[in-house]
Amino acid sequence: MRPLTSGERRILENRLMRQYGVEEAFKDLILVMAGQKRIRACTREAYEFSKKLRKVQQLGIYVAKLRGEDVVLSIEGSQLLGDKIKVNVIDLDEDEAIEWMKASPIRIKGEPTGKYVVARHGKIYLGSGIVSRDGKIYPQVAKWRRIPEL
C-alpha cells in the first residue's frame, strides 16, 4: 500500500470529473493504491498513525478501481462522493435497487452518455454499473455484497 502520487491523484480527479462530473473528489482524505489498481481512502490521521504499526493489512475503505481509462466506484466510494456526482447518475426505485444489489442487469431509462453510470436510490448510492450496447446496465457489485437470490 502506498499513497497516490500527486500525478496519479490528478489523473483520478480528471477521470472522475469526465465520467461523473465530480469536482474535488475525496478532498480531505488520503488515497492509497492497494494492488490491482484498487484505490482506498482513509483519514490523514489514520494514515500517519499507521506508520507506527507493523503488519498493517488495510487502511480505511475501498473507494474505486481504475479500469482502462475509466473509474469504477464502489458502493462506499459513490456514497462518499454523494451529490458531488452530477452526471451519469441514474435513479432507481426500491425494486430496481434490490435488483441492482443482486447484480441483475437494469434496463436503461433515457440516454446515458457514458460507459459507466452510478446508481442512486434516494440518498443511498450503490456504486458504478457498466452501460452495455444491449440497452442494459450491469451493476458492478462485489459478490459478497450481493443480496442472495432466493
Binding site: 482524505l29 490521521e45 498513525f49 507506527k52 493489512q57 458502493i75 444489489m101 443480496i147
Partner: protein, 311 residues
Amino acid sequence: MSKLIMSDDLRRYLDLIPDLDLELLLEAYERPLPEAFRTNTLKLPEEEILQRLRDKGIEFRPIPWARYGYQAEGGVELGTTLEHMAGLIYLQGPVSMAPVEALDPKPGETVLDMCAAPGSKTTQIAQLMKGEGVLVANDISYERVKALSSNIQKIGVLNVVVTVMDGRRLPRYVKETFDKVLIDAPCSSLGIISKDWGVAKSWSYRVVERLSRLQAQLLRAGFETLKPGGTLIYSTCTLTVEENEMVVDKLLKERSDAVIKPINLPGLKHRHGVTEWNNLRFDPSLKHTLRIMPYDNWAEGFYIARIVKEG
C-alpha cells in the same frame, strides 16, 4: 426434533458456575437469539434509516443500553434486506453491543480493538467515534480479517487501520498509546451456545485452561498499550470464572495502577462479578464487573470488566 447435546466436561462444569439456574440456562440455549441491529449513522441519519424500515412494515424497539441499537420484532429476516446489504444497518446481538457502550469511545480518541474480527464491535466503536480520531482494529487471523474488512467496508469506516498480528506483541510498537482499549477475548463461548450447539458438544475444560492463560496475556498486553488515565474493557461471551474474574484478578495483582470501575448500562439485567469461588478469593472490586447470563435478557451471556489505568 434435534436435542442439545453437552460434553461430560460441560455437564460437570455447569454445577460450578456461581449463581446459575440450570433450567433457565438450558431454556435460553434452546431459544434462538433475538434479531437485533444497529443503524449506521456513518452513512445516513438514524431517523431516515428507521423510517425506511418502518415503511417496509418492520417493527422494532430500542435497546436501552445501546445507542443506535434496536431489537426487531415479529421474526423478520433482516439479513437479506437492501438496508443490510447497503450497510445502513448492522446485525448484532443486543448484549454484544454492551462492551462498546461500557468503553464509551469518543470522537478524536485513539482506540484499539485488540481481537477485532469479525468486526461487530469495531464498527460500533467507529460509529461512536464519528469518523474522528484513530481506530486500530487488530486480529491474529488472516482468515478472520477478511470478515472484519468486509464489515468495515460496508459500514464505511475511514479512520481505521487494520493490522494482523498476535495482540500480545502490540506493546512492542504502541506502548501507552491508546485512550481506550477493547479486549473482547477469544473464549469458550458458553454465553452464545444458542448460536451453535456444536460448542456444547465439544466443550472441554482443557480448552478453558488454555484460553485463560491466553486471555491473561492479552489483557496484560492491552493494559500496556493503554495511556495513563485510559480505559480498558475486558469482555468475553462465556460464563466460566477462569476466563473472567480470574483473568482480571491476575492483572489487578500484577499492576497496582489497574483499577476496576463500575459500569452503568441502563436496562441491562446482570449480576455482580464473583469475589469468592471454589476456595479462591479475588479482589473485592471485582464485584463491580458484570456477569450476564443468557436468560437475564434472553439474549447472549457476557462478562464485562471496566479497568482504568491510574496516573
